[in-house]
Amino acid sequence: MSGAVKIAVLDYGAANMVSITKALAAVGAEASVAAEPSALAGVDAIVIPGVGAAAPAMVHLRERGLAEPLIEWARASRPCLGICLGFQLFFESSDEADAQALGLLAGRTVGLVDAPTLPHIGWNTVEAVRPHPLFEGVADGSHFYFVHSFAPAPADESIVVARTTHGRPFVSAVAKGSLYGLQFHPEKSSEAGLQVLANYVGLVADARAGGEV
């Protein structure tokens, strides 16, 4: 099979779907909006976008029947990118309203500590902990757009790809197998953000090619 990689962006009522779908299209993917499990049929990868609160997001994911298919998707090692709240939902739980999350990664989402301003809104530098294909072509220390008050604390340090400092350092990117998480919004981070999304699309294409061999 060839052609553009097909990426489903999960719509669970978490606002802005336009920016992420258009940004994925801008880097050559065929992006669709998935509001129900049947919309995941035939796609190569998933993006879980999101801003807002963790507890209502989980309620919406479950109500739409998307939580279980997502967990199965990740267990089958198929590519999935979580952005901001979508990234936080990968973990077991969140301090925010003591919400239970998807539990795909060990750890808990906690409030930012010692932040001089809260929410953390604006362009901050992302510092690589280790080289990763997601950041290929992006200068280390480039600015990306953040808007959040919480960030995940992974139990497994080896999955951390990058950190950012606002008050204290927090984890701004992780990767484990085909599961990728970003605390910043690549779809709002101009050229650097589009480069990260293009890299994700490239990783999905590689995974698809590998699966066919």
Binding site: A15, V18, K22, T117, P119, G122, S142, S190, G193
Partner: protein, 263 residues
């Protein structure tokens, strides 16, 4: 390190960018999506659209503007003006905006800030505080009052107290405009800014009075602002965003330079 943001603001009426003085003598200055895209390419950290369409003429034109802009400019978008309910905010966010700024509507119905923050998170809720200096006797402390309807109506609200209350109610950011300085190009009211910024934890965006790059520096250094918004100096191409950021960087302030991004 968190960069100090530079934010161009576009006044939009009936789906077009307009320029005018005090809401009169409006002239058509082009397509909002095109201008926003140009600003994004020039390094704008965020774009603010201020909808100044007369209320009775407003019907989805702004949503179309947001939709077209979000399809082309991959930077944060804020829409101010005309949003009066949680449902209206949902429509603006779904069209591609990241934040909504409330001014008159929040003064009239403060609970609106809470309702929107509970639904969309406080990071999406900006409270615009338009403030005007009150006359004070010698030795008395300076005070500012909140004005609404683009400065045409006064309120009994103390601007600093209202700013603090807006944050308690759910606003995740404050857009503080000095109505004394707005459109005058006489520099920001740094006293007003610092009075508010030192009392709240959320980011403060300075607005009203920008004349040149050095004003952006003082808004951050003296006004303690996290971001600086301006309209006319960018539209009239008196100064570029890059020029402003160069001045801020030279003053030791952290900024995002566009040439850094791709290795």
């Amino acid at each position: 390190m968190l960069a100090r943001r530079v934010i161009p603001c576009l006044d939009v009426a009936n789906g077009r960018v307009v320029k005018g003085t005090k809401f009169v003598n409006l002239t058509d200055e082009g397509d909002p999506a095109e201008l926003a895209e140009r600003y994004a390419q020039e390094g704008a950290d965020e774009i603010v659209f201020l909808d100044i369409t007369a209320a009775h003429e407003r019907r989805g034109t702004m949503l179309e503007v947001v939709r077209r802009t979000a399809s082309r400019a991959f930077v944060p978008l804020t829409v101010g003006g005309g949003v009066r309910s949680v449902d209206e905010m949902r429509d603006v966010l779904r069209a591609g905006a990241d934040k909504v700024s409330f001014n008159t509507a929040a003064v009239a119905t403060p609970e609106l800030l809470t309702g929107c923050a509970e639904r969309f998170g406080s990071q999406a809720v900006v409270c615009a505080v338009d403030a005007r200096r009150l006359p004070v006797a010698d030795g008395e402390e300076q005070r500012w009052e909140v004005v609404t309807h683009g400065g045409r109506r006064t309120t009994d609200l103390d601007a600093i107290e209202w700013a603090i209350r807006a944050v308690d109610l759910g606003a995740g950011e404050l857009l503080v405009t000095s109505m004394d300085r707005d459109g005058t190009r006489s520099g920001f009211d740094t006293e007003l800014l610092s009075q508010i910024a030192t009392r709240v934890r959320v980011p403060v965006i300075a607005s009203g009075g920008a004349a040149g790059p050095e004003d952006f520096v003082t808004a951050v250094r003296d006004g303690k602002a996290d971001a600086v918004l301006a309209a006319s100096i960018f539209h009239r191409r008196m100064h570029s965003i890059a020029e402003v950021k160069a001045a801020m960087a030279a003053a030791g302030l952290p900024v995002r330079r566009i040439e850094e991004s791709v290795a």
